[in-house]
């Protein structure tokens, strides 16, 4: 099981950040940066970023900066 934006979701072996965002759909799919536990992952790496079981995932809006 993983927690994405505070909600539990099932985990599966080999799951990537891209998979999770695709499943979430909607506005989440456009999220540019995600934090997996303490590790920040940006969109160019979503396909390669695997998610461990029990991970906490936060969708980072990246409106911020400067």
């Amino acid at each position: 099981m993983i927690r994405v934006a505070g909600k539990e979701r099932p985990w599966r072996e080999g799951m990537t950040v891209a998979d999770v965002l695709k499943e979430l759909g909607g506005e989440s799919a456009a999220c540019p940066v995600v934090r997996v536990n303490d590790h920040y992952v940006s969109r160019p790496h979503f396909d390669q970023a695997s998610i461990p079981d029990n991970a906490r995932i936060f969708l980072i809006p990246m409106i911020a900066g400067g």
Binding site: A5, G6, E27, A30, P32, V33, R35, D38, H39, Y40, S42, R43, P44, H45, F58, I60, P61, M62, I63, A64, G65, G66
Partner: protein, 714 residues
């Protein structure tokens, strides 16, 4: 500490006025040439037009200087102000001071927004702003004692040279046992010998039992401060500050909105950027991932070693604990490194506390120099602060010198034997130490990129054309740390910024490139109107902009304009209304900023700048200068030439494609300027029209005369 002496030269007793709706309603004026001290009233017109903070600074400076005033003339003033909302303890990010002066780098106005307690303590002591003119050959310490209602001017001898130790000594000296009651503004020896000296603003951290620092970094305000003969400014006020201290018009209304915002940050920051844990370090790898992190003098935006400087490292290095640079701020992003032991310089082998680093320092003194070792970045951060040097200008100027060295434009003979190749950590540190000592090649780099270009061409025969392209300055100010080649909006964010290429006016790079929030030219122009205007507003009020958009509401993405975070804009309007009693909505905040923003543009014009030609960018900010840069991203650039610009590139050499790309991109930037000037109500030459200044209520006789003298007739 022994061995120093503070000799009282002047005492100015005063009656502290009651604060009314966020204002003290007077300003404090010092002239160091004759040690004159005076107060001046804040008029209703000043509050109406200029609001406070940077607005007050600009108005005081406007009246202090002449069009011919240079940075080191006695009439140039260092102005420091809080703002009507400054000093509110419950609302996050409400402790900022805004410093302004005529910059030694740009010759025009520079302003810097900085944390620490000085601005609020100054205001509660009875002064909305402080203006210092004149010069002295003595080492002056000014003490504004709001508790005992007196201003004292001391001639000092034997005080520590570096800001790190100086603030500590003066905090202890003036505190009368209550260390939190003191805030010190100081600079260091680097400010005397370079044109990009910064100011350190302190607050006392009771948990760590030490003075902490934030920097008014940009544009050499510390250099002016040092040139005047000021060692330090000290403010003393009772740290037991509450919501009542500002005497807000509607306390309950203020309490409600302050709680709302503070609570939201506490709840959401851990789920978003973790500012309270890792500060701005989280964006290092994010910028790298998107090819936006400057490496090797902005040549590239990515490097395989960038993760060495990322948040994962600083998460371990930062000393855990509360790091707010103002009381009760829940963003609390001013992190530091405890027990750091420098390897070089006067503190070599001794444990120090380092305030920082933040993203800009990491990128400027790290990746942009080809340095990917966090300990070197921390050491550079420490010495820049201690010596009173702006880490951004140090980084960008040193990066330029390094590229010149690698290109063979300058040699080891000219650098005094320093091998200035990228990644040379020892050389980067030595440059900073030389800046502090005012010697060697470090002193040359300390003159800034613009002067280096002229000197390298004149004295070393270096090619001025290539230096114009790779010297990352505009208006004379060194770029802050983002690669803008692929974001036209951010090119405008830098090139059209009033003070020079600093990102605080318009940080559009991610919104433009990654979110694609502004695909059309008209949308970019609109963004280059709205964002600078709203961001300016924080500096009018004594606020930090981070709570606005570094932690955002969970439902923000579904709003019509998510980049503006309008829910928070609404809260800020509520905040302003509750404190000042001047009922305001979001559009009113924009109007306040627009007024001051246009006044500053007119001020630039008065100082000989502020026209279209002054909004020029070095080509490296716009596109690939060299074949190496082009070829490193050949697929991207070829695609753009073919698909966006509809150019047939078959058979073209890289050099030809570089030239083509340059023509197209430079034309695009000029088109952007046209669109932004029009949106801002400026002439095609970038000057506010008479109609614009009239609409904004800044059609003062001297403003109108100036515009007419510059050919503006409507």
């Amino acid at each position: 500490m022994s061995g120093y002496e503070l000799k009282l030269k002047k005492t100015f007793p005063y009656q502290r006025p009651a604060i009314e709706k966020g204002y003290a309603n007077q300003t404090l004026h010092l002239n160091l040439s004759d040690l004159a001290v005076a107060t001046k009233p804040v008029t209703p017109q000043m509050k109406d037009i200029f609001i406070g903070g940077k607005g007050f600074d600009l108005w005081l400076l406007w009246n202090a200087v002449k069009p011919t005033t240079r940075w080191d003339d006695p009439e140039n003033a260092v102005c420091i102000a809080s703002g009507p909302l400054g000093g509110t303890p419950a609302y996050p990010g409400s402790g900022k001071s805004i410093a302004a002066t005529i910059s030694p780098l740009t010759g025009a106005v520079i302003d810097s927004n900085v944390g620490g307690y000085f601005g609020p303590y100054l205001k509660f002591s009875g002064f909305d702003a402080l203006e210092i003119q004149g010069k002295t050959d003595q080492d002056i310490v000014v003490f504004v004692d709001g508790i005992d209602q007196k201003v004292e001017i001391f001639a000092s001898t034997g005080l520590p040279e570096d800001a790190y130790r100086l603030s500590e000594v003066l905090t202890e000296h003036f505190a009368q046992g209550k260390l939190r009651n003191i805030s010190v503004v100081s600079t260091g020896p680097g400010a005397k010998h370079t044109f990009f000296g910064c100011l350190n603003f302190s607050w006392y951290d009771p948990k760590r039992k030490r003075a902490r620092y934030k920097q008014a970094g940009r544009g050499g305000v510390g250099t002016v401060f040092a040139d005047k003969g000021i060692r330090a400014l000290v403010a003393r006020w009772d740290a037991a500050i509450s919501l009542d201290t500002n005497q807000p018009a509607e306390k309950e209304r203020l309490k409600t909105v302050a709680k709302q915002h503070a609570r939201e940050i506490v709840e959401l920051d851990p789920k978003q950027n973790e500012m309270a844990t890792i500060g701005t370090t989280h964006i290092v790898t994010i910028m790298d991932d998107h090819d936006l992190l400057p490496t090797h003098n902005f040549r590239f935006g990515q490097h395989r070693e960038a993760p060495n400087l990322g948040q994962a490292v600083f998460r371990r290095l930062f000393d855990p604990g509360y790091d707010g640079c103002w009381m009760g701020c829940t963003v609390a992003c001013s992190h530091g490194v405890r027990d750091f032991v420098p390897l070089s310089g006067p503190y070599a082998g001794r444990k120090v506390f380092v305030d920082g680093p933040e993203y800009e320092t990491i990128a400027g003194c790290g990746s942009n120099l080809g340095i990917f070792d966090p300990h070197t970045v921390i050491e550079l951060n420490f010495y820049c602060d201690a010596y009173g040097l702006d880490t951004i200008s140090v980084g960008t100027a040193t990066a330029f010198a390094m590229e010149c060295y690698e290109l063979g434009l300058i040699t080891a003979q000219q650098t005094g034997g320093l091998e200035l190749y990228f990644g040379n950590r020892a050389a980067a540190l030595e440059i900073v130490h030389q800046m502090a000592r005012g010697e060697g090649f470090g002193k040359r780099i300390g003159q800034g990129v613009r002067r280096m270009k002229a000197v390298f061409a004149r004295d070393f025969g270096a090619d001025p054309k290539i230096m114009a392209d790779i010297g990352m300055e505009a208006k004379g100010l060194e770029f802050s740390e983002y690669v803008t080649k692929e974001s036209l909006a951010q090119q405008g964010g830098y090139g059209l910024a009033l003070k020079g290429p600093q990102h605080d006016e318009a940080w559009l790079i991610f919104l433009d490139m990654v979110h694609n929030f502004m695909p059309t030219l008209a949308q970019k122009a609109e963004a280059l109107h709205w964002f600078p205007m709203f961001r300016t507003w924080f500096s009018l009020c004594g606020l930090c902009k981070l709570p606005w958009n570094d932690v955002i509401p969970e439902d923000n993405q579904g709003t019509p304009e998510p980049a503006k975070v309008m829910k928070h804009v609404g809260w800020y309007a509520e905040y302003f209304s509750a404190v000042t009693g001047r009922e305001s909505g979001p559009d009113d905040l924009i109007r306040m900023s627009e007024t001051v923003y246009n006044f500053q543009r007119v001020f630039n014009l008065r100082m000989g700048f502020g026209r279209r030609e002054h909004d020029a960018l070095p080509y490296r900010a716009v596109g690939p200068v060299t074949e190496l840069e082009y070829e490193s991203r050949a697929e991207r650039y070829d695609k753009q030439l073919t698909e966006i610009y509809q150019v047939d590139i078959n058979g073209k050499s890289t050099a030809e494609k570089v030239a083509l790309m340059r023509r197209l991109r430079e034309a695009q930037y000029e088109t952007l300027k046209d669109a932004v000037y029009k949106r801002r109500g400026w002439t095609p030459d970038g000057i506010p029209t008479l109609a614009t200044v009239k609409r904004l209520g800044i059609d003062l006789p001297e403003v109108v005369d100036l515009l007419k003298a510059n050919g503006v007739t409507a």
